[in-house]
Each structure stands twice: as C-alpha cells, then as structure tokens.
C-alpha cells in the first residue's frame, strides 16, 4: 500500500475527477450543464456552416484566380445545375446518390471494423503490457506502409468484396483511434487505481470501473476523427478493389472526362463527410454531457 486514499474518494469510484462546471449562480447545476450542451451543439453547427462557406469560397476563388479551364474545373453552379436543374438532373442524382449509398455503407463497415479493433486492442494493451510491446510495432507498420502499396496483397488475400473493404477501411481508422484510446485508458489518475486495488478489484475491474470511464472523452474524439478516415478508406477500397461506389465512379468519370459527374461526386462525398463529422460532434457532446464530462471550455 503506497497511497492512502481518503474515504471521500471511494464514494464515486466510477467518476473521473474532471473538474465539473461549478455553477457560480444560484441556478441548479443541471440547467447550467444543459446550457453548456446547447452551446456546444450550436458551436458544432456553426463550425459545419463555417467549413461549408470556406470550402465554397476556396473552390470558387481558385477557379477565378487561377483562370482554370471551365471544361475541367466546374464551379459550384455547374454542380447545382448537374444535380438539380438540367433535364437529366434526376438521372444524374440517382447515379451520384446510389454511389454515395454504397460508399457510406463501405465507410460504415470500415468504421466499425477499425474502431472495434482499436478498442479491443487498446484494452488488451492496458491489461497486458507485453501485448502492447508486441503489437504496437505492427500497428505502426500498418500506418507507415502506404495502403496503395499494400492494396494488391490485401486484394489477393481478401478478394474484391466486403472483406477487403473492411480491411482497408479498418486500417485507415484503427491507428489514430488506437493511439487515442490507449492514451485515454491511461489517463485515469493513479489514485483511482489504488482505490480499486484497496477494495480488492482485479485488473479487469480496474479497466472497467476506472480506465474505460476515463477514456470516454478520447473514445468519442476517436469516433469523430474516424468518420472522415472511414470515408477515405471506403473510397480507396472502391478505387482499388471493388470499383463501385463513389471511389469507382469518381475515377472512371475522370478517365472518361465526365467532369460534371466527377465534381458532383466529390462535392457529395465532402458534404456527407462534413455532416457526419458534425453529427459525431453533437453525439459526443450529448454523451459527455450526460456523463458530466463536458468541459465548459470546449
């Protein structure tokens, strides 16, 4: 026994000692938390709109300033025309949205695969140090070898179906999530571990009662950053292996000089990524607020 734990600390063993927003006014703490939450959601939406405006400004600005050929560089108006106002718009929309559906499905597969692998891996790493020492280099390897170089091997082993989509998407997602979650699991102060130890808890109980709750903010941060990663992975798998979805469509459109379709595809997948990122942020704020972990400064 190295540390003496004050009895007060044992009262809330599952809570992480994140400084909770302390209401300075007589209002109940709950309403202050709700306001913080609404502010956070509002901020997410503002970020979303801000990004949207920035992207459109850069897009249009680049075309104007660089005087790009209008045959190749389509403007936002061209994309709107392609998707909504020209006679074939309904057909064009169907092509793009079908492909987007496939891509989102692929992204979801990669997202789940990568995140599950990251969480399981992180828990194993924390429970058994040797596992971390053995497997972390493998994770590093996955990170440092370009996926495009590995793709032919992955395709040879896993074929050109869902398995390859899961593997390629999973590889894109797993590393940042793994590092984040491992750091989160280790973030709990040692004093809390001591409490569990004093009460005779196993190392699994330690992970369950202390490390996992402490890792919630990092887990949700991982989910948020994994969303665009999963979409990248899906596009990559489609380009290299399956040939369907937006990844296949965009590359074929480029080689067949269907630049309207190409730009519409890029726009739609970018919008989807931004929207899903914003959604992940809102969910993150909701859950963390529920857990009392929402930092008012964020």
């Amino acid at each position: 026994m190295t540390t003496t734990s004050p009895p007060g600390a044992a009262a809330q063993p599952t809570r992480v000692p994140e400084p909770r927003p302390r209401p300075s006014d007589p209002e109940p703490a709950q309403s202050a938390a709700r306001r913080a939450l609404l502010r956070a959601i509002g901020r997410s939406l503002l970020t979303f709109l801000g990004t949207l405006v920035t992207v459109v400004v850069i897009w249009w600005g680049a075309i104007v300033l660089l005087d790009l050929s209008s045959y190749v560089a389509k403007s936002p108006l061209d994309v709107v025309q392609f998707l909504f106002t020209e006679p074939d718009a309904a057909e064009n929309r169907a092509v793009v949205m079908d492909a987007l559906g496939i891509t989102l499905n692929h992204a979801f597969i990669g997202f789940v695969t990568g995140l599950v692998a990251a969480v399981v891996g992180a828990v194993l790493f924390v429970l058994f140090r040797p596992v971390e020492q053995t497997l972390m280099p493998v994770a590093m390897l996955l990170r440092s070898v370009p996926l495009i170089a590995m793709a032919p091997v992955i395709i040879m082993i896993f074929g050109r179906g869902v398995a390859t989509v899961a593997v390629i998407g999973g590889i894109v997602v797993v590393f940042p999530a793994l590092v984040n979650v491992v750091a989160g699991l280790k973030a709990a102060p040692p004093a809390l571990h001591d409490v569990v130890e004093v009460y005779g808890g196993s190392s699994w109980a330690m992970v369950r009662k202390v490390s996992i709750p402490a890792a919630m903010p990092s887990l949700f941060a991982s989910i948020r950053i994994s969303v665009p990663g999963a979409i990248t992975g899906a596009l990559l798998a489609e380009w290299l292996a399956t040939g369907d979805g937006l990844g296949g469509t965009i590359n074929r459109a480029a080689s067949q000089v269907q630049f309207d379709l190409l730009w519409a595809g890029v726009v739609v997948v970018t919008l989807a990524a931004l929207a899903l990122y914003a959604l992940a942020q809102v969910v993150e704020n909701l859950v963390l607020a529920q857990l009392g972990m929402l930092r008012p400064g964020r």
């Binding site: 104007v64 045959y71 395709i155 040879m156 074929g159 067949q256 000089v257």
Partner: protein, 356 residues
C-alpha cells in the same frame, strides 16, 4: 452543353483583368508556337512537349523512344520531351492542359467527344487496326464469344471503361450481367485467378501470358463489332487552330521515330527494356515477340502508299460505325482531322517512304 473550347467565362475575364500583366505574359508564352517557321524548320522553338501515353512504357511506344533518343523531337524544335506513362485515355490531360498530345484510341476519344463535347481531335494513328482483346485462360474464363462474358468477372482499367462499355453495347450484352472490377496494368490478376477476363492487347499481354506457359483465349474487339484505330495522336481543337505548326513538327518527329523503330526493331526494343521501361522488369524476348506482332498493326498497304499514321476514309468510317454500334452518334469530322498529317507529307515528301 456545347463544346467549350477553353471559353473564357465572365469570372475568367474578371480574373484576367485583375491579373492583367500576368495574363499578358502567359498569352505571349502561349503564342510562341504561332511563329511562321515551317514545321520542318530546324530553328523553330516550340518549347517543352508533354506526351501522355496510353499505357506503361513498354514496347507500345518504340517510335517515341527512338524519336527521343535520336533527337528528332529536338530537331523539330522542342526543347524537351516528357513522355508520361499511363494507363490513361489522355483526354482529361489534354483538356486540362497538362499534356500537348495524347496517345490513346479512337473509341475512348470518340466517347469523350460524343458524350462530353470534349474539344479534341485525332490527327493521326500508329495502329491501323486496334489490338484490344478480352484475354482469358482456356482453363479459366475461356471467353471466345461476346456471350461468354455473361456472368464473368472482367478486369477493366479505368482508362478502358468506355471501350469495354462499347464492346458490350455493340454486342447487345446487358452491362449488369458482367461484373467489372478495376485493375491496373498488371495482367497477373488473370493468372492468379482474381478475374476471369482482362482487357488487354493481342500484341502484348496476350503474348506475354502465353509465353509464361498459359493457354490463352482471346475475344478481339476488332472482330466483334469494334474495328477502330488505336494509339491515335489526339490534340485539342485549340492546338489545331493556334499551334498548327507545333503539332506538325511533332508529327514529323514521330514519323522519323517510328520509321527508325520499324527499321531497327532490336535497338528500339532494347531502349524499351533497358532505358524507358527499365523499372518495369520487361523481358526482352517477349517484348521482341510483341514488337513483331505489333509491327503488323502499324504498316498496311494503306501506309505503304500514303505514309505512316494515315487514316483512310474507310478506317475513319469503320471507327464511326464502331461508335454508332455502341450507341454513340458522331461524324468522322467530329473526331478526325487528318489535314495536318497531309500537310506534313506534302511539305516533307521524303518521309512517306518509311520502308526504304
């Protein structure tokens, strides 16, 4: 949408006004090709030349290697030549301005013209007959008729998508009955069983795979509704109008290069294997066999009479008919402009006799 041959939009004009000095500079640079030097003149300065190749740097571009090595591009007035490896149809590179000339095929170019109003034209062709085939193994896909494609998994390079769709359309095969998977330039996807068929060249992958000891089956495009010219020289309408002499200078260098390549095939194949395609690990023996088979596509009674790269009216209408069979409505004049090549041969009659 009508053909926008680099039209200046309103926004483009605003940008031009804003960056007046810069634009003036750029225009001067672009105009340097308009000099009145004859195409064959040695003292013209046509600047840097970028050629987008349709494929990796194997024996398909022997003439380009010879023209580069023997200095014909520089003789013609180009300060440097950049041969960019494919796979690519080159049309996107042409219209975006990143390539001056693209080597591809008449159906890919025709599809881009018919569907997307691409402002490009074919000014000559290396292959009088296209060698495209669906390559399969006799103990695998064994695809010998268009109907054999149904239910098969076919590896199609992105750059050959239009071509494959044209093959299906010309033979009335429902595209949804064939599974298309994206592949690159490596035909090993066929031998390792990933795909049942692979879009290839009769004169190249077919020869290579057979030489590896496999028994191969072919479904040649030319015999199945799609006779058209390939390894075509494609340029933008803008270049034809404003850089005519530059394109003609390029054609002169190409004719000289391919004349050398046909005369001295061994040297040319050596250049492909040891220099230009050195990092591809090409096998000299099979590349030599490929080159011999390929030579049969380049020369014909037509080229003997009228010179290399010529496309007879008959070949032009065959190509247009191939496109029509695939549901694409274009006129020969929409995709071909042989007037530059004609002028080259009028100005340099000695180039015609490539065989002597």
């Amino acid at each position: 949408m009508t053909a926008p041959s680099r039209r200046r939009t309103l926004t483009g004009r605003v940008a031009l006004a804003a960056t007046g000095a810069l634009a003036a500079l750029a225009l001067t640079a672009c105009g340097s090709g308009d000099s009145s030097d004859a195409a064959s003149g040695g003292d013209a300065d046509y600047g840097d030349l970028t050629v987008q190749l349709s494929w990796i740097k194997n024996i398909e571009f022997l003439g380009e290697y010879m023209a580069d090595t023997n200095g014909y591009y520089t003789d013609a007035g180009f300060s440097s030549v950049n041969l960019v490896a494919g796979p690519s149809t080159g049309v996107a590179e042409l219209v975006s301005g990143s390539a001056d000339v693209a080597l591809s095929d008449a159906v890919s170019v025709g599809t881009a013209v018919a569907n997307e109003d691409a402002p490009v034209k074919i000014v000559g062709t290396t292959f009088q007959k296209n060698p495209f085939t669906i390559l399969s193994l006799t103990d695998g896909g064994n695809i010998t008729t268009p109907e054999d494609l149904v239910g098969k998994k076919i590896g199609v390079q992105d750059s050959n998508t239009s071509l494959f769709q044209a093959l299906l359309a010309a033979n009335g095969i429902d595209p949804s009955s064939v599974e298309v998977v994206p592949v690159q330039y490596d035909a090993s996807v066929l031998t390792n069983g990933e795909v049942d068929g692979y879009v290839a060249y009769l004169t190249n992958e077919s020869v290579i795979v057979e030489h590896q000891g496999f028994s191969v089956a072919n479904l040649p495009f030319a015999d199945n509704g799609l006779p058209f010219v390939a390894e075509t020289f494609t340029v933008t309408d803008d270049a034809i109008a404003n850089d005519r002499d530059r394109i003609k200078a390029f054609l002169v260098a190409e004719i000289k290069g391919w004349t050398d390549a046909l005369k001295d095939q061994d040297t040319a194949v050596g250049l492909a294997v040891d220099t230009y395609g050195a990092d591809l690990g090409l096998d000299a023996e099979t590349e030599g066999l490929s080159a011999t088979a390929q030579a049969g596509l380049i020369v014909s009674p037509e080229t003997e009479a009228n010179g290399l790269f010529t496309i007879s009216d008959e070949l032009q209408s065959e190509t247009v008919a191939s496109l029509a069979g695939a549901g694409l409505d274009v006129q020969a004049s929409d995709i071909f402009d042989l007037s530059l090549l004609q002028e080259v041969y009028e100005e340099n009659p000695d180039l015609k006799a490539y065989a002597e």
